[in-house]
Subunit: 197 residues, 2 copies
């Protein structure tokens, strides 16, 4: 009897369910509206369950941030395939970066909220470095490894890439916080024009 599954003791895919729930909370309420217990609630599970998969809150948020960087990577890669010369590809990536940050404010915010994350996590590190590497590569022609970005004093990181990254990241961050409207006619184009690489 009782043909209904009626919630088995084991969830089965709790890890992914918690990540999904967290992303849902982020888009609905932002990062300040997130809590471990709320994520557990949405996944239909007790408050202590997430600990088995992520250790603590930091672990879950790091996993979500990692997923965000992979998504950003995909967007940058897609921009790269749009063709055009080097300058066109650089600008396309820059626009994709900005578009991502503006479209997913809370997720983008989390990705850089280093105090709330475990930056030593290998997956996070690789995903975040990989995103910057795409920009670095289209500008300099060579990719950048994780070691180069971790041991920051080491040479190998191109100054032009850091400048471009700073410009794009700053524009995205400031726009995301409502300091100006990124869609204001001519604004983004004008800012892009200063991308002298």
């Amino acid at each position: 009897m009782s043909a209904e599954p009626s919630k088995p003791y084991h969830h089965g895919e709790l890890r992914q369910a918690l990540i999904n729930a967290t992303e849902q909370i982020l888009t609905e309420r932002g990062l300040e509206g997130f809590s471990m217990r709320e994520a557990a609630r949405r996944a239909g599970v007790s408050a202590a369950a997430p600990a088995h998969h992520f250790g603590d809150t930091r672990g879950l948020l790091t996993a979500v941030a990692t997923a965000g960087f992979l998504e950003l990577q995909a967007a940058l890669r897609e921009a790269n395939t749009q063709g055009g010369d080097r300058t066109a590809r650089i600008q396309a990536q820059a626009r994709a970066y900005i578009r991502f940050g503006v479209a997913h404010p809370a997720r983008f915010d989390l990705m850089w909220r280093c105090e709330a994350l475990n930056r030593a996590d290998p997956a996070y590190l690789s995903a975040s470095v990989g995103a910057f590497s795409l920009l670095h590569e289209v500008i300099t022609g060579v990719a950048v490894s994780a070691e180069q970005l971790c041991d920051v004093a080491k040479p190998g990181i191109d100054v032009r890439a850091v400048a471009a990254w700073s410009l794009v990241h700053g524009f995205t961050t400031l726009a995301r916080q409502g300091n100006f409207d990124p869609e204001m006619p001519g604004l983004m184009d004008g800012v892009m024009a200063t991308l002298t690489v």
Copy 2:
């Protein structure tokens, strides 16, 4: 008897004491380590006392962020008085901006943590717009008013100022989070060189 003051019922300068305590916590433990109760504890006062002065946590943090913007304004103004031509003054301000953010990571972080602040607060608004206005003025020759920055769609904000702001803010933010070392030889100079205004 009891010549000792032995803590009078009224603190006297609780408002400022709470702001000081918060800034102390920020430098010691960062924003994640802050709590209203901890600030009250350091000010030697009960947990409910701050509410009379700031309403809620958001109110206290907004006051601290406002103070931060005033400090930033002073740094930018000081950079402006160092003499030199227009380009020199622009670069001096940019360096002062970066120096401030790197020297006071948690405070700088808070200043832009808009979800944790009350952005409608007039003092905060005026202090933050005032800081940008200094950069805007040295670049374009005219200051920018609060209305112009609030009604973002309105013209009046110079694209060159937004680009410079984005570059400097992005560099500061990324460096602050440990993505690279701002003191790496040649890095900051190279990034500054792209400040083509």
